[in-house]
């Protein structure tokens, strides 16, 4: 089992500031959220790692823009919730259709880049409810938490590390108004899943630095 102090490699996409986390075992690698293929491939090549699995926290393009290229370069299995798998196949649900404008607005007009819309093929392994998966002795629990998007999922590794996607982003409230997001789903499904997460737990969000998620932090998100 992974010791509590285990730290996954974190690669941050310079454009969207999304985080990709890479976990290595000998020469094999598993990653969460393939945000930027060139960045990831450089890291894997430098570390002599062979990518085997890709897990997705949700379907938004800033978290999986590198998926198509990685699928071409490596024989990977992609694991995602069924809703996430559906979402990555839609330019609306994966947000790539509006990303160019979104980045402009989010940067308050300072970022004007070309961001072509794209889709991905379905995930290889999908789940509707929680999904357990072992990889070289590490246990991954994928817990659907719809709200931010229909396919949002929290991933817990070895009961010690939480990959929270776009939940628990430091300094930001949960966003449910982007494509596919739903206040109702968040209230009914997402919050229930987030409340049930173990705490304290070392948390690796989809944007920003890692932190210790405690019950007190959860309460700041209205999770009592």
């Amino acid at each position: 089992m992974c010791p509590f102090s285990y730290t996954p490699a974190c690669l941050t996409d310079p454009l969207t500031q999304s985080n990709c986390y890479i976990i290595a075992h000998d020469k094999q690698a598993l990653l969460i959220d393939p945000n930027n293929a060139p960045l990831i491939r450089s890291y894997l090549e430098a570390q002599h790692l062979l990518l085997e699995y890709v897990l997705l926290t949700h379907e938004h393009c800033d978290h999986m823009a590198g998926l198509n290229e990685l699928r071409q370069a490596y024989k990977v299995q992609v694991i995602a919730s069924k809703a996430c798998s559906d979402g990555i196949q839609s330019t609306t649900l994966n947000m790539s259709r509006i990303m160019e404008s979104y980045l402009y607005f989010k940067s308050k007009g300072s970022l004007r880049v070309s961001y072509p819309k794209f889709t991905c093929l379905a995930a290889d392994i999908t789940f509707d409810n929680s999904y357990l998966f072992t990889w070289y002795g590490h246990l991954f629990r994928c817990l659907p938490a719809a709200g931010h998007t229909p396919g949002s999922t929290c991933i817990i590794m070895d009961s010690a590390l939480l990959f929270s996607g776009d939940y628990f982003i430091p300094g930001e409230e949960v966003i449910t108004r982007l494509p596919g997001g739903s206040d109702e789903l968040y209230e009914q499904v997402g919050k229930k899943a987030l409340r049930a997460l173990p705490a304290p737990i070392r948390t690796y969000p989809g944007h920003g630095e890692s932190f210790l998620l405690t019950q007190e932090v959860k309460q700041t998100y209205g999770l009592y």
């Binding site: 404008s101 402009y104 607005f105 982007l178």
Partner: protein
């Protein structure tokens, strides 16, 4: 439903407004028409009128009236 009615409906539904509140409405004048609300509105305008709005026009879609002007540019009679 006419194009004008469809256009009004998008604003009324997305921003929870009545028809009489639409003339003169500007981007960011109400909390729901913020950057995220704008993204949703743009997608629904594209779907409703079967057009693809270029990014410069998404950015200059700054009011209810300006939006109609932009739609006309894309061949929508409104």
């Amino acid at each position: 439903m006419t194009n004008a009615e469809k256009y009004d409906t998008l604003f009324m539904t997305n921003f929870k407004l009545t028809k009489d509140q639409l003339p003169g409405l500007k981007y960011r004048a109400i909390p729901l028409w913020d950057s995220m609300g704008h993204m949703t509105l743009m997608e629904e305008v594209e779907d409703t009128f079967d057009i693809s709005i270029d990014t410069p026009d998404v950015l200059s879609f700054s009011s209810y009236e300006k939006g109609m002007e932009i739609l006309r540019k894309y061949g929508v009679s409104i």
